[in-house]
Structure formats: C-alpha cells, structure tokens
Symmetry: C2
Subunit: 346 residues, 2 copies
C-alpha cells in the first residue's frame, strides 16, 4: 500500500508549519488568501484527502450511518435496510451494513468497527444472544452516538425503538388456527430474552387461554430461526404421545423446517397439522404449499427508524428523548393453515 | 450529540502541549514513561478514543474491509459475503457492507463512504451500469487501497478478480436444453458491458451454433435481474410469430418472472416451454415447479476473494500483482427443464 499524504508532507513540501497547513485547509481567517490557495492546490496535487475525515471528526459528522442486523440474507432485514436507505439518502447519508450472525461477540466487534468508521449513528436489530451486559450499548450512548433499535430491541433508557406489535401478531395467528378448528397448537419459540420473541409467546399463550384451550408448556419449544432447527424441533413434537394439530412458529425459517419434517412423516398440511410462520419472507408465497405468515411491513419499519434517527440527529442539544413506535402486523392467510372448507364440511 | 474529546482537551487538562499528548499516545520514545502513563490514564478517564483512529491512519490499517454488492437480498451475494467474513474474521478483519442497487452514482458514493470509513480494502461486485468512467476505481488504486472484484468485474489493470466460468455455465445450460429437444431457445440477457453477462451470452450463442441450430438475435433480449422484468420480457417473446420453446435466463429472478408469465398464458413447463436460470438462488429449489439453474459456489467465491485480498495486503511493497481466479460452475437440473421421459416417448 502506498503511504497516505499527511499535512506534514504538505508542510515539508511548502516549507511551512503543519499548523499553517491545517489552518489553511480548514479555512481559518488568520491565513492569507494566497497561502490558502497554495496549500489547497498542493494538497490536491499530492492526493491529500484526510482533511475530509478530519473535518468530519471536527464537525462530528461523517454522513455514514451504521446498520447492524443478525443476517442480511433475510428478506425482512434486507427490506428494513432498503427502507432506511430510501429515507436517509435524500439527506446525504450513506448506509454501511454489518451482520452479527446472532453472535454477541460479533455484535460488539461490529459496534467497535462502526465507531472506528466514524458513523453518525447506529440503527440496529440486536443479536439473539443471552449476553447480560449492556456495556457496548452504553458506550455508544456515552459517546453521544445515536442508537436506535428496530424489530429486536432491548429495554435501555434513552434508546428509541421501532417495532411491530408482536403480541397482537401472535395472538391473531393463534386465533386464526383456533378458528380453523385446531385444538392443540404447539409454539416454536426463540430466545425469549429478546422482547419480540417474548411477546410472540405471550400473544400465543393469551389466545390459547382466551379460547378456553389447555395451555401446555410441553409443546412450547425454544429453537433458533433456522430451517434445520425447525425440522429437529418438529421431529420432537411429532414423537410426543399427544402430538400437536398445529404449529405456530415465531419464524418463517423454522416454519419451513416444520413443513419439511411433517411431509417427511407422510402427514398432510393443513389437514393433519396446520402451520403458521412469522415475517412473511417471500419464499412463504412461492412455496409449493404457500405458508401462512405475519407480515411486519419491513420497508415502513426501516423508513420510520430512519425518521426517528433524523429527529434525534437534529436534537444536538442535551435533551434526551426516547421514542417507541409500534407498527401493526397483518396476518396473511395461505395454504399451510387454510382448511375452512374441511371444517365447514364437518 | 456530546462533543468528542480531542488531544487538545487532554493537553489543556494536563497543561502540556498537544504534540506531547500525541507523542505519548503514539508511544514515542522521546516521552518519559511517567508522562506516557499520565497521558494514557487521562485519555481513558476523558473517554478519548480518537487515537485508535489516528493510529489506524498512521499505520494505514483500520481492520475494516468494505464489501460492495448490487443487492444484499440475493442469496448469491449474501453467501459470497458469508464466505468473505468466514475467511477474514480469523485475521482480525471486520466486514462492512454497502449495496448499490445497481446505480452507478450510489456505487461512487459507496466507495467514498468506505474510504472515509478508512477501510483497508474493498471487495466488490460492480453495479449494472453503463458508466464509461473508471475514475472511482482508479482513485482507490492511486490511494493504494486494494480493490478486488468478485463475480461482476471490469477489466482494469492491477485489479484482481474471482469469477466463475460464465461462458461454460451458459454453454452447459444451453446444451442441456438442446439435449432435452428444444430447438428455439431464447436468452434473457443483461447489460453485456458487464463481463459475466457478456460471457453468458457468448456461451449460449456458441452452444446454439455448435449444435447447428439457427442463432436468432431477435430472441436475445436484454433485461434487468428482476422478477417483473422477466415477466415483461417473456410477454414480448410469447407474442412473437415464432415464440421460443425454451428460455435460458442469465438470472434466476428473471427466470422466475418468465415462469409466472408462461403459466399466466396457460402454457406448460417444461413441455411447452423449458426454463433455465442462473445462480441457484434457494427459491429455485423451493418452488412448486423447481427451476433448473447454474450453481456458482458463492461461499467458495467469497473465501477465495478474501484470500486474494489477504495476499495483496501482505505485499505492501510496490509490487503490482494481478490475479484472476476462475471457478467452475455446475448445472443443477430440476423440473423446469427436465422432460427426458417425454422426449424418449416420442
């Protein structure tokens, strides 16, 4: 790599002090017009560009925004990012993205990398970890770098968030399964220290109770949002003495795994077992057997997250404001759970 | 936002010069051990962290690597990035990602953003634009920031690349359609100023010619890699006096659009029209009618791209080396083109 030009190189070339170079580049009025011109021309000749960064450091603005997501190969997160970009781009901001792969160590590294990259703010969906400490988030707050959570959030004072009403989404999905005649509905849950998964669990549970069905903790299984994990967990459920007649999954990926496993057992969907996922990933629509899922309007979520950031960035005062935006989810009913005709035939 | 602590703040607090603070933080031997200790402790107390960046500027290393892709919501690009991360992480590098949405202006902005973020290198797949200028790439080279292309490359002296043998992938796909009895094979192409699309076109053309079929430029249509574009283009093809009996698409997304459009016309796949895509996106496997496609081993592509970067980063000398790695593609035959039984019945 060739060495970068510094203000010292320019100073040496012009036989003036580095301080003069710095002042000239920053447009300090103590510097004569002729010197300023000479310094600027020399800087250009020598391919000097650090001053942009130096200015950014000074003004506290790089116009780069960091976005951290568990994974980019999920349509949900990719769409949120798209919404963020669409909203921020007209304001001159650029989005740089990191993924955590749901590992807390990587999440911490990502935050440090983005801080080193001088981002003006971090918009993130936290990783699925059981990390107790908030230290890495507190570090951001201490440095005055705006932090905004979307979808997966942690309750941290001073941090705004944009989420959907996961309780309602799960309640509606479970109610739909009950309306279809299902009586023993299993739940593929996820790490419930993350609020979205906790709320999906609570919404599911409440719908079961409100409809006078038996709530059985044995058919609530915590798993990871992966196809293979969905298969494994469903295998467990099918091996039970009283297997479920429906599965409500907190993730489309585990729902897909559940469907693969149910088919492998020669059972029919939705007749023998109905399946509902969460997130409305595009594959739920393309599948041979399309999957019922809960839509989270991700592009809107991204846009609103960006708007919350823009507001906070404007408030450069010492005012600490915290905003919680909660969007309403929508159940998209498809083949994997729609057996109304069968029910009405009974 | 709270103001960042600078070396001037530390200097003021300790009543020493900023230069001394800077030297102490950088471990200059002219500074006494006691001063160094005092400065470091004060810097820590005052939450000073700029020195990390300053050191990064000095050493030319931030351990951040920028990856630029046209879109993150493509399994192909997400998998390449995964391969890059897996390979670079053990070396202490962090990956930050930008997407261009195939817009050249955004591509240029992304490069500038990543330069401002002080990345140690940029690994990228260029956007689908007809931009004539190489200026933004030359800027990187001039600054000595390693640039490596993967998949979508441009021929630029001094820039290494990792691609697959697109000619071979397209040739094999077209030969397969011919073997299935197809005689009038259309090609959904893309911007052929991008080498991968040019090579896919050339491979397709060569297979047509080698098999003694008529090559008809009228059924080669340039389109964008989007489902809707695939539908539109296929509509055009189906309206022709002599419509094709097969479509070889340079993208799985346009292939998906083609399938939707063919179905909407009440035609059968593969009996009436066979379809082959390119990239082996996961949805090609999940579809009701699974799609034949060309696999590009993206994780391996990412890993090798990262390895090429690591080699170049080691060569901090003035040696300019250029490496071109070409991986071999594999045709995955599925429902959308497999009609062997029908052919043999004839």
């Amino acid at each position: 790599m060739s060495k970068k030009t510094t203000i010292y190189d320019i100073a040496a070339k012009l036989n003036i002090t580095a301080a003069t170079v710095s002042r000239a580049l920053n447009g300090n009025s103590k510097i004569s017009e002729s010197t300023r011109k000479l310094v600027n021309e020399t800087a250009k000749e020598m391919n000097y560009e650090q001053n942009k960064l130096a200015l950014a450091l000074k003004s506290g603005k790089s116009f780069n925004i960091g976005v951290i997501v568990p994974r980019i190969d999920s349509n949900f997160f990719a769409s949120v990012i798209r919404g963020i970009e669409e909203e921020l781009h007209p304001h001159g901001y650029h989005v740089i993205i990191c993924q955590t792969h749901d590992q807390d160590t990587v999440e911490i590294e990502n935050i440090n990398s983005l801080l080193n990259a001088q981002v003006d703010g971090i918009l993130m969906s936290i990783s699925n970890s059981k990390l107790e400490t908030d230290e890495h988030f507190q570090k951001l707050l201490k440095k005055g770098v705006p932090l905004i959570f979307f979808d997966r959030r942690k309750e941290i004072s001073g941090v705004s968030s944009v989420t959907i009403d996961d309780f309602k989404g799960a309640y509606t999905a479970t109610q739909h399964l009950i309306d279809q005649g299902c009586k023993r509905i299993a739940h593929l849950s996820n790490n419930r220290e993350i609020q979205i998964f906790k709320n999906r669990y609570l919404g599911y549970k409440q719908a079961i109770i409100d409809n006078g069905l038996e709530f059985d903790e044995a058919i609530v299984i915590e798993t990871m949002s992966k196809v293979l994990e969905g298969r494994k967990t469903t295998k467990q459920l099918l091996a039970m003495e009283k297997p479920p007649d429906a599965i409500f999954s907190s993730s489309d990926f585990t729902a897909l795994g559940a469907i693969e496993e149910i088919k492998a057992h020669g059972l029919k969907i939705p007749e023998d077992i109905s399946v509902v996922g969460f997130s409305n990933e595009p594959f739920t629509r393309f599948m041979e057997l399309s999957i019922t899922s809960v839509d989270q309007s991700p592009i809107e979520m991204g846009r609103i997250t960006a708007q919350v950031f823009l507001e906070e960035a404007k408030n450069s005062k010492k005012i600490k404001s915290e905003k919680q935006v909660i969007l309403s989810p929508e159940l998209i009913i498809r083949d994997s759970s729609l057996k109304s005709t069968i029910v009405s035939e009974k």
